[in-house]
């Protein structure tokens, strides 16, 4: 049961990650790969504060989220001014560079990672408490993002994605909107990182590699980009299926490659059968986009 609970907590955390990434890349149309690094910033800042500053856990997680948010604003404000495409390159560089830093600094524990993060809750109540917290946060994140994109703000996001030049010429500040969307998405990822750090009490650099970027992106695309519940479906599916086959009792040398193969087959299947994702429009018609520029 403990194993199932851990998997569920992990899935809930990834639901938060995928949902916030969907806000940025799906709704906001901001091409970034660096989502895991904001997860990392949240996790490391929270962990370090818990170890060295002895602050209350909620404060640690909140500061972790704020740190991720501040870092994301710096990245977005500097690169979006050049162009939208530049964000893709800049985010990749930012992720790789910061990971190198984390790997080489003493305070972050170097390549071995940050361990000994204090257990905030001990005893039998620990797992149920974390289950409640992570599932609760996942629900709040998904519904919160859904509320944002459905109202007048979401209408503005859609218009911006449809036709940015006309949008700006109507008096809308597209640049600041993009930075805000990016900051909110990355802040939520940072919060997820903080909870992750407290639950697992251990954070290491390889959990935030570019491979993670690919995994979260796959969750979003497979579930359905720019849909409210797509990331939930994507995260559950991509985490639960590889976990489920561990119950098959196969030898390790079959199991490890099998998980990779399942992942790849799922991606290929969806690419051909349902490119808009599980929760996307079923007519397989890609979202109409304006191509002419003025």
């Amino acid at each position: 049961m403990e194993y199932l609970a851990t998997v569920t907590i992990l899935i809930a955390i990834y639901v938060i990650l995928a949902a916030s990434y969907n806000l940025v890349i799906g709704y906001g149309g901001l091409a970034t790969v660096a989502h895991p690094i904001f997860f990392a910033i949240g996790a490391y800042v929270t962990g370090l504060l818990a170890i060295h500053a002895g602050l209350p856990p909620i404060v640690c997680v909140a500061l972790g989220a704020v740190a991720a948010m501040v870092a994301s604003v710096l990245l977005a404000a500097s690169s979006l001014r050049v162009s939208g495409d530049y964000l893709l390159i800049a985010s990749l560089g930012f992720q790789l560079g910061l990971l190198q830093l984390i790997r080489n600094l003493e305070i972050t524990g170097g390549p071995g990672g940050l361990s000994n993060i204090p257990s905030t809750i001990v005893g039998a109540a620990r797992t149920p408490t974390f289950l409640a917290i992570t599932i609760g946060l996942a629900v709040v994140s998904v519904l919160g993002i859904r509320a944002i994109v459905r109202g007048p703000y979401g209408r503005a996001i859609t218009a911006m994605r449809d036709e940015e030049l006309a949008f700006t010429a109507l008096g809308r500040n597209a640049m600041s909107m993009k930075i805000v969307i990016f900051a909110v998405g990355c802040g939520v990822a940072g919060m997820a990182g903080g909870v992750y750090a407290f639950y697992f009490q251990y954070v290491s650099p390889e959990q935030f590699e570019v491979l993670q970027s690919a995994q979260i992106l796959t969750m979003v695309v497979l579930g359905g980009m720019a849909t409210a519940y797509g990331p939930v479906v994507g995260a559950v599916l991509l985490l639960a299926i590889p976990q489920a086959i561990t119950f098959l009792d196969l030898p390790q040398n079959v199991m490890a490659p099998l998980q990779g193969i399942i992942f790849t087959v799922l991606v290929l299947l969806f690419l051909f059968l349902r490119p808009t994702g599980i929760m996307g429009d079923s007519d397989n018609k890609p979202r109409a986009r304006a191509s002419e520029a003025a």
Binding site: A159, L170, G171, R287, A290
Partner: protein, 252 residues
């Protein structure tokens, strides 16, 4: 003070191509100025310079006597420089009314903080915008299209929606880039009537248009441009009578 727009020695070049060569124009309150000239004359570029899509290499732009050079595109729209686009640039995945609701000078839904914590004020602003939008659509006889997807409408109506969206901005200056291109029949009449009403209500209007009869019907004054330069500024009759200009324009 009746002068709404004044440009002073506007210059802009892209490499060897001069799109604006010491351009000086003025538009008064209530006036409809025609802007004509052959393709590549710099008419749309002039709109881009005035609205802030392009930055001039030198020269100044004044709106109601106030320099707007330093303001970016979105701020100039909020100051009241409203424009349409030759190819409309409608928000294609949205309905007609949604296209219009995005477009007031101040949009309540633009701030995530206001949407989260000031929902009451956002709601009342939305209500006002919706009323205004329906009023504009009604004037154009398009009230029943409000909930259609813009891409489902015929071309002429899409052109009108492009104008309707711009009219959500109630500012002093209206720049219309080829409003009649591809438009005929009922939409043509509507377009003409609406542009006239807007000028009558006190806006300064500038129209880029190849349809000379449209210009003749609407404008008392017109400017002829070629190669980024203003060649003549006068009544439409004077411009049409000028042999040198008609040769340049029609190549006859």
């Amino acid at each position: 003070m009746t002068q709404v727009l004044r440009t002073e020695d506007l210059n802009k070049r892209f490499g060897g191509i001069v799109v604006s060569d010491n351009v000086n124009i003025t538009i008064d309150r209530g006036e409809i100025l025609g802007l004509i000239g052959p393709n590549g004359a710099g008419k749309t570029s002039l709109f881009n310079l005035i609205s802030g899509v392009l930055r001039p290499d030198s020269g100044s732009i004044y709106l109601n006597g106030q320099a707007v050079n330093a303001s970016p595109l979105y701020k100039r729209a909020r100051m009241g420089i409203a424009r349409t686009w030759q190819n409309m640039l409608l928000f294609r995945t949205m309905t007609v009314i949604e296209n219009l609701l995005i477009a007031p000078r101040e949009y309540a839904g633009e701030s995530i903080l206001r949407v989260t914590f000031g929902l009451g004020s956002v709601r009342s602003a939305e209500r006002q915008a919706r009323e205004r939008a329906l009023g504009i659509l009604d004037r154009m006889g398009l009230a029943d299209t409000a909930d259609s997807m813009v891409t489902d409408l015929p071309f002429g109506q899409q052109k009108l929606i492009g104008l309707a969206r711009t009219l959500m901005n109630d500012g002093p200056l209206l720049l219309l880039d080829e409003p009649m291109a591809g438009v005929e029949g009922a939409a043509y009449e509507t377009m003409q009537a609406v542009v006239r009403q807007e000028a009558a209500s006190g806006r300064a209007v500038c129209v880029v248009e190849h349809n000379v009869s449209f210009i003749r019907d609407l404008c008392s004054r017109a400017v002829f441009m070629a190669n980024g330069r203003i060649l003549q500024d006068g009544t439409v009759e004077e411009l049409i009578a000028s042999k040198a200009l008609t040769e340049l324009y029609f190549g006859v």
